[in-house]
Amino acid sequence: MFTPKVFTVFLCLLLGLAFQTAWAMDLSQLMQVLAQNKGGKTTFVERKYVAMLDEPVESSGELRFDPPYRLERRTLKPRTETVVLEKETLTLSQGKSSRTVNLMEYPELGVLIESIRATLAGDQRTLERYYQVNLSGTLTAWQLVLTPKNTQATKLVKLIRLIGQRSLVSRVDVELTDGDMSVMTIAKPQVIP
């Protein structure tokens, strides 16, 4: 029964599978790699391209991730502002005022921050809960396109594109429905002991 022909077909199938993993990869594989993320601190620069302005608005600051639930974005320029996402609580601090809300109370902001956190945490369930997920590229150079499912968010946010290498995220693009967009580049993080 186990003819050489059958064997050859079987071998080809195996090889085919192996090739597929090398070239393209499965979302769960990327997620597994990302889940290894130890967290850490890094810096970012963000440029917002807004039609009403003649030049992009640049802001910069620090990002800090404590896996799997806490992401802090501290903008230092042009103004100081801290946004902390911890579990589903979002804390916004600007100057003296600080307020804590539920993530989904600000769905537009929520989808932006959650996209980074869930990706860094390798949290496939959350990603798939909030976004239509589209993965392309290889493990060493992947690109994740997220389309929000929340209707309030989709009114404004067209898509979020995360670009990364293995467990690192190096760039986050946000495209808005009105054509405006922002590009955030993230430096390589230092692991905090």
Partner: protein, 792 residues
């Protein structure tokens, strides 16, 4: 014979009349009976706040899940809030979801140039616009910049943002899954404000029912349980509670008394006759209070039960001592003077309460006086004619003998009684500083468990426990709003210098018409604004022509109709205005709840002196700073002091009366010694049990004197005429037992008001009899000489 029918008919007609009045009486159970009849300005604020203030309209809802499923709780909280927000009975429903609705956002955006305190002519100069544009561009760089950018072109000075931030409450419970959760448990919490005033009990009840119905509907699987708390709920429950408890306890008291009297009289007819004074007395009491005060408080009604125990005594004295074939006048004559003196004594005690500035006490006084006078009159003029000639209680011979022996023993042990009384007095002297409860809430008809739940839930939601208030009054709305602006300016400066953490003010939400007009005048003309914009945006990446919307909006605002309260209907802003600017009796009152520096676990106390001084600068609007807690405690302290003085006057009147009638200082002292000793022992006992006495305990103590002196008088009269026989002893004991039952039952009530009466008078009455026997029982102990055994 005719006269007996006349008496009976008169009694029935009177009772019927009283019953009719009683039926039409409204019964109340809120704190209003505890409020002064002629309040000061500060007290008036306290009264209004207790009745209709924001705090009085809050209903706190707690939701817990049997398996601590917080997601299920959050979902239910949102659904419940959604449901209640549709109900017009609720002004606001807060559960941690966005307080500002879309409607609020629209209101703020569209009226920003009238509402924003930043609007002055300086706001639109080239320099100011330049700074504002720069700021707005920088705001685009913030995390949410992409979503607020739309505002830049219409509102580059960011008035909407400023106004929105003002609306956000500074202290909120923690948020889980989008809704508020308590600090301590997995309890979702909601805070609901009813439209109806806290004192409108029927509407409060309807609102509570609406919450319960919505909850039942949404909690189909029954896994979530709901806890409710709030002043309105308390008042509604207290009303229902007192009514059911009064019914229940008076039913029990009646059944027990009737059984007891059946055992003694062995005649149903006599039992019914014996209840005549009780029923007519109680009805007369209710009718008198109803006519005198317009309504009867539950507390007064509860007090009525105790009257059953007392009023039944008159019939007992009469019946037990009745001898067959004797002249009807004879038995009365033997003890009637004693009863008359007893009734007068009680009236003396209660009459002083009539002068109390405290409605609750005055009601009690009137109730008791009317009740006792009618009960005694019925016993005196109606009952004797109705007793069958051959009626006699003659099966209690043994009991009488045992009693005699018992009382003899008590008389022998009088030294011990004296020692007890003296030690109790010393004990009280030693603990005199912490005998009394000093807070108004001691009088609250709310059970302790509910008070605890309330404290717990309040801590959970950080609900306003509005303690410090500044208040200004004005004749019309505009004047009130203008005054509010002046007060706000002063308070704001206090916040700036750190003397105050914060405050709420209606002017934050609705400026006066004058201020709005001034803002309109300060808005620049289109051409000037355009020129300024062009110059301000020169070195910025913002093109001036893109800001046409801004110019247009400013021009529109210049002639826009001014914002008035009706424009704000149905928004969170409107709700805030409604609770901070109150129309009362044709006048407007603006309220400014203050927040003392930093909220920790301890109650922060405000720097009253500093604030008062700052407010003094506003002589024209006369703002009042009120510490509601101090006010209410002071009010209660005043009541307590007043009640103590009135009680002492009452006791003095009793002493004077007894002295006058007995014409002997020594006998007066002997008569009064037993009840006073009981008062002292009961008070000491309560303290030993860890109970702090409230005003109601005090009234109970006074009642001990009023009732207890009756027993002493019987003993005294007996020694006077050497006529204390066994029947007398039996009737005394029986009278005492009925009183102790009447009051004692109240001690088991969960309503604090009723409980306080029960726990003092029940034991006190019993002690009074024992001590009366002990101190005055000489006659009882050697009465075997004076009365032939055939008498029993």
């Amino acid at each position: 014979m005719k006269s007996r029918w006349i008496g009976l008919i008169a009694c029935l007609v009177l009772s019927l009349g009283c019953a009719l009045i009683a039926l039409r009486t409204s019964f109340i159970a809120d704190m209003s009976a505890f409020l002064p009849r002629t309040p000061t300005a500060e007290q008036q604020v306290l009264v209004d706040q207790l009745r209709d203030g924001v705090a009085s309209r809050l209903l706190i809802i707690g939701l817990t899940h049997q398996a601590d499923d917080v997601i299920a709780l959050a979902t239910l909280s949102k659904k419940l809030a959604l449901h209640l927000r549709k109900d017009a009975a609720f002004l606001t429903v807060a559960n941690g979801e966005s307080v500002t609705t879309e409607r609020d956002q629209t209101l703020l955006f569209e009226n920003r140039y009238l509402l924003s305190p930043n609007i002055t002519a300086q706001r639109f100069t080239v320099e100011a616009l330049h700074a504002a544009f720069k700021e707005s561009i920088a705001a685009l760089g913030m995390s949410s910049g992409l979503f607020t950018k739309q505002l830049l072109l219409r509102d580059p000075t960011a008035e909407t943002l400023f106004l929105t931030e003002q609306m956000i409450p500074q202290h909120q419970p923690r948020i889980k899954h989008g809704v508020w959760f308590g600090k301590t448990a997995n309890r979702a919490v909601l805070v609901v404000q009813t439209r109806a005033a806290g004192s409108d009990l029927d509407s409060q009840q309807a609102a509570i029912e609406a919450v319960k119905a919505a909850f039942r509907e949404l909690n189909a699987d029954g896994k979530v349980s709901m806890q409710l708390s709030g002043p309105g709920l308390f008042a509604v429950n207290a009303r229902a509670n007192i009514q059911t408890e009064v019914t229940r306890l008076s039913t029990i008291a009646s059944v027990v008394l009737i059984s007891l009297l059946l055992l003694v009289y062995r005649s149903p007819r006599m039992v019914i006759l014996g209840l005549l004074p009780v029923i007519s007395g109680t009805l007369a009491g209710i009718a008198a209070v109803s006519l005198g005060f317009g309504s009867v408080h539950g507390m007064t009604l509860g007090f009525g039960i105790t009257l059953i125990g007392e009023a039944v005594d008159y019939a007992i004295y009469l019946f037990v001592q009745h001898k067959p074939g004797s002249d009807l006048a004879a038995p009365e004559q033997r003890f009637w003077p004693t009863i008359r003196l007893g009734v007068l004594t009680s009236i003396c005690g209660f009459a002083s309460l009539l002068f109390s500035g405290f409605t609750g006490l005055a009601q009690l006084g009137l109730f008791s006086i009317a009740g006792l006078v009618v009960a005694a009159s019925v016993a005196r003029w109606v009952l004797p004619g109705l007793i069958p000639r051959n009626f006699q209680v003659n099966h209690l011979y043994k009991t009488g003998e045992q009693l005699q022996r018992g009382f003899k023993g008590l008389y022998k042990g009088r030294g011990l009684s004296a020692v007890m009384a003296v030690s109790a007095m010393l004990y009280l002297g030693f603990h005199h500083s912490d005998l009394w409860h000093h807070e108004l809430k001691a009088l609250s008809p709310v059970p302790l468990s509910a008070q605890e739940l309330d404290t717990f839930l309040r801590a959970d939601v950080a609900a306003p426990d509005v303690r410090y208030l500044v208040v200004v009054r004005a004749l019309d709305q505009e004047a009130a709003l203008q005054a509010a602006e002046q007060v706000s300016a002063v308070l704001e400066s206090l916040v700036q210098e750190g003397s105050l953490a914060g405050f709420e003010s209606v002017s934050r939400y609705l400026p006066s018409q004058l201020t709005q007009q001034q803002r309109q005048l300060s808005l620049p003309q289109a051409n000037i604004l355009q020129e300024n914009i062009a110059r301000a945006s020169k070195d910025l990446p913002l093109q001036a022509e893109k800001l046409k919307g801004f110019v247009l909006d400013v021009q529109k605002a210049k002639t826009a109709p001014l914002v008035i309260p009706t424009d704000l209907e149905g928004s969170a802003i409107g709700a805030a205005v409604q609770s901070l600017l109150v129309k009362q009796q044709g006048a407007y009152t603006a309220l400014f709840p203050l927040r003392a520096a930093d909220q920790g676990n301890t109650a922060y106390v405000i720097q009253e002196q500093v604030i008062r001084q700052a407010l003094n600068s506003l002589q024209s609007v006369k703002p009042l700073l009120i510490d509601l807690k101090t006010q209410s405690d002071a009010l209660y302290k005043h009541y307590l002091q007043e009640a103590i003085v009135l009680s002492l006057i009452g006791v003095a009147a009793i002493v004077g009366l007894i002295w006058t009638v007995l014409k002997s200082f020594k006998r007066m002292v002997r008569v009064i010694a037993a009840p006073l000793a009981s008062v002292v022992i009961v008070a000491a006992g309560l303290h030993l049990l860890g109970i702090k006495m409230s005003l109601l305990h005090l009234i109970g103590l006074q009642l001990i004197v009023a009732i207890g002196s009756n027993y002493s008088l019987f003993f005294d009269q007996a020694s006077d005429k050497s006529a204390l026989d066994r029947q007398m002893l039996v009737s005394l004991l029986l009278a005492n037992i009925t009183t102790v039952i009447g009051f004692g039952l109240l001690a088991f009530s969960s309503v604090p008001v009723l409980n306080a009466f029960g726990i003092t008078v029940g034991p006190g009455a019993f002690l009074s009899l024992l001590l009366a026997a002990s101190f005055n029982g000489k006659a009882a102990s050697n009465s075997s000489l004076t009365f032939p055994k055939t008498a029993l």
